[in-house]
Symmetry: C2
Subunit: 642 residues, 2 copies
Amino acid sequence: MATSASPTLDAAALGRFLDGPHAKVREEVREWLSREGNAPQPDLPLTEHRRQVLAWTKDLASTDRTTMGYPSEYGGRDELGGYIAGFETLAFGDLSLLVKCGVQFGLWGGAVQHLGTKKHHELYLRDIASMALPGCFAMTELGHGSNVQDLRTTATYDPQAQEFVVNTPDDAARKEWIGNAACDGRMAAVFCQLVVREQERGVHALVVPIRGEDGEPAEGVRIEDCGAKLGLDGVDNGRLWFDHVRVPHEALLDRYATVSPEGGYTSPIENPGKRFFTMLGTLIQGRVSVCGAAINAAKVAQVIAVRHALTRRQFGPPDGEEVTLMSYRTHQRRLLIPLAGTYALHFAQEQLVGSMAEAFTGDGADDRQRRKLETSAAALKATGTWHASATIQECREAMGGQGYLKANRLAALKADTDVFTTFEGDNTVLLQLAAKNLLTDFQDEFGELDPLGTFAFVAEQVAGVVAERTAARELLGRIADDLLPGRDDGGDLLERDTQLELFRWREDHIKAGAARRLRGAIEDGGDPFQALIDCQDHVVLVAKAFAARVVMEAFAEAVERCAEEEGKPVLARLCDLYALAEIERDRGWFQEHGRLSSTRSKAVIKAVNTACAELADHSGPLVEALGVPEAALGDARAIEGA
Amino acid sequence: MATSASPTLDAAALGRFLDGPHAKVREEVREWLSREGNAPQPDLPLTEHRRQVLAWTKDLASTDRTTMGYPSEYGGRDELGGYIAGFETLAFGDLSLLVKCGVQFGLWGGAVQHLGTKKHHELYLRDIASMALPGCFAMTELGHGSNVQDLRTTATYDPQAQEFVVNTPDDAARKEWIGNAACDGRMAAVFCQLVVREQERGVHALVVPIRGEDGEPAEGVRIEDCGAKLGLDGVDNGRLWFDHVRVPHEALLDRYATVSPEGGYTSPIENPGKRFFTMLGTLIQGRVSVCGAAINAAKVAQVIAVRHALTRRQFGPPDGEEVTLMSYRTHQRRLLIPLAGTYALHFAQEQLVGSMAEAFTGDGADDRQRRKLETSAAALKATGTWHASATIQECREAMGGQGYLKANRLAALKADTDVFTTFEGDNTVLLQLAAKNLLTDFQDEFGELDPLGTFAFVAEQVAGVVAERTAARELLGRIADDLLPGRDDGGDLLERDTQLELFRWREDHIKAGAARRLRGAIEDGGDPFQALIDCQDHVVLVAKAFAARVVMEAFAEAVERCAEEEGKPVLARLCDLYALAEIERDRGWFQEHGRLSSTRSKAVIKAVNTACAELADHSGPLVEALGVPEAALGDARAIEGA
């Protein structure tokens, strides 16, 4: 049972709770962002912006913070969790700097670290960490953004010369959107179709020099600037073409596959599809990082918009003083529901980072662990980045015209985070990846059940379907919900267990339904690809329901963990709001599946309104606890706002 | 019954149907946009952008197109409908130009035309039309954006000098966001609290010179540049302060109120509140214009994204060719549902412009007509601009990285239209204005009903409430819907009358419910302002449901009007999609109110998917028919897309 909100909330104590295990590195990054000259600047022209971001990146590289995820022998601290926490915190500042760091230390450095072997680590990691060797992660091609497995740059092994020949066969195969490529990058991890002894071996990465010390493109390499973008203009994205560029035998990042000097190909992972997905697994870190960054960017917008709503007055009772924007129900809903989402995602992200650090440290994860991580990272990246886009937009509008001035940061937050929904894996594609994993696991679980268990499970499903078809289940539910005294007010929806059960039940039900449809379509002799397209909206829902459940559980767990003096009662109420708002948003589905009667569904709306009204009183400390440095909040005019 | 979609669609014929009564002016503007040098340029620096927009505005002013809404004696053509149609079409191009024209010819010119009298028309209209006299509409203040009635700039009449003294009492009363103010404006219609003989008379507008021929601010006027904005950088927004600036007696725009030279105040409208709202009525044209512009900006994004989806291939069956993005259900849903919305809004806008031209021509509208127009303009402006924001965002994401390049126009479309949701009246505030009018009309209607009619109406409402409370209605509906053969597939939801009835029923039900709640709260002795806040989310729904019904009726009416060879069958199917997608979106509500059983609710989802799959085959001609000039579609790379 959720406790009612307490009258005061200690923002500092709650802030320490939010900072969690990596409080120190978060504090260090905040301190860096608060130094003179390090705050985001609202309107730098592209060239100056790039120059500024490069200078900042070098300054950060002179600490060990950007590389603390690397092994300690190459300048790191073996602390992946801390690295991500620091990276996330950097998202309070200029997001071009964040992305530049992500490209250099996360993607370029990560490719060398995760796909390379000791010789590559020895050669490159230290210089990557110090920014002495800026580099690129050259995977995406113009023709193949999402479907990376079919990219078309080739690396053909020449056993005579003991060299690989890297080549761009046509314009659609040019590397596109490559960060660090337009100006600063000197080398690139280039993803190619490997050809050895005329046999295609699938996608592998090689280290290829692209630019000399003099800044000129290396021989055979053509570089073009992507030019002005919607946002992130401080990042020098570029295009790369390779014209039969020769690199030595050691250029192959050979953790998952080796080519002998004579041209013998061996890999510890036999299945090429599986090998490819294992290599792509290194993208997990990128997705987790982007998710955390998106959540923190949303926090910045929320501090600005909530402060504005608590100060700005407009309209009021006749002959009375004007009231604050936060007094209005529509304003409470538009700001506080996203705020509950940000808190929920914050805790889910904290868990995800913990799991990732565990899986990537020591011997690494087994297949099952890795897949679980991949699933969570994909689903949360999509959920977190869409949340950020929607939240920042809501904050922009809630600020009226003030939100439209560049000086007030909302413009940059909006523009810069916009691409988060489609880079490091397009969100819709990622949701399908997550759903595919979930459905595979579901099938596996099925297979492992004993006959009796299987039977019971199937029987339950069948009963469920029959119940829905005849509407009997709904009728029963309705009678129970609506006619028993005290159940029609939706009061039990404030119980945490009821909330959690609804999230879990929805996930299970959607998953079972999608599995049934897919299997049915294929068993009926249908084309599997067409079956997937026909069920695609359903499949995407599997991942969304999964993510919502994971996020809700993380929030509920955090509330349990939180001490009274850290704000437990208010946090519990905010968790109610997250749960209720999500049930409200999807109340069409819950009614369709007999889990909400119409009366209870209406009660959910009321319960959301009530929670918003209560939380409005705590909204000031709730945003202050998010720990966004003042320097990152832009021009104060938005806040004074008059 | 909707006809099934025909195999071919003549884009040109449908395009002519869409162009409607003002085809000629639309064609002229398209031709202007297609001239060399007139296409939007993706990355102009602020200063050059402003210069370019000024030059374009002058070029347009040299035709009679920008001012065809003015009376013919001052260079116009008395064709308000044609003016709006031309303005809307301009939204295919650079939106800074659109807004600059809106400020000059619509707001500044409109204030003189609608609030001024013959002497003002004689003095200014011709020069405004030719751009010889650039000017501003100085209403908004920093402290009072939405609550204009409480703005605080004063105009005090000095009968000795026969002058008005215009003054900014403090910084919060400075005029903010004023278009044309930072660079080009020479005069401004300044909205002030009028004080005559020490009596406050409410908000009135005066013409005040703000800048000399030399470009320097006029005496007593301070001007500041708002600086860089999220978008619309080609518009020179500025801030204005007035330090006891004296203007002659004739400066008062005196259509609705006069001050005699001696200081006698008279107005044909006695009630100050009503007088104020009559003056604000002149904002209607601005809202209608913005709504049309938003819809057309959405069209540009949709042409680009649909072409991309029909060309770009990604993934496919194993060993098969990759398939187009448009083949995917998720992609169909994200592009075609908004496309149906754009078509629907196009027809609603056409109707609205027609009503407005009628009301503003000749003797003008009576109170009731004017309020009806105000209601529609407010509700549709909010609906249309939010639709544009969401649609352009969806298109941006559906283009992946390509949508993030400035060269491909999505960036500018997104940034420039963003402010549409909060300027010319904040959308949430406008929805409340519309709802207030609707609820007032509802009450009036109530009062006029004969006793028997009233009784019948109330009885129906009560019965409805009782039915919902006991769930009896739902049970009955369920039995009828689910158990009668052939009714559980939702097939009747494809009937136009069923669709229309659902939209109408929802509107009536929400309106009656809100009225009941408000009255109940006030009759119980509650504070009316608090009652309004408590019902605010409900009140906003009144306006949203109203807008959806108006839009749906306009679309249905257009389908009826359309000839077979103009694409009637496809248009009918698109109208189905609009209706079904809206019912799907709000299926939580329809279930809550017993209008959809759970089985039928699920059937709606399937019906949306089916309509999307069918319309995907027509999506090419459907976007070509929107008539966006090629020159406005940005860099072709996005479309080739590989």
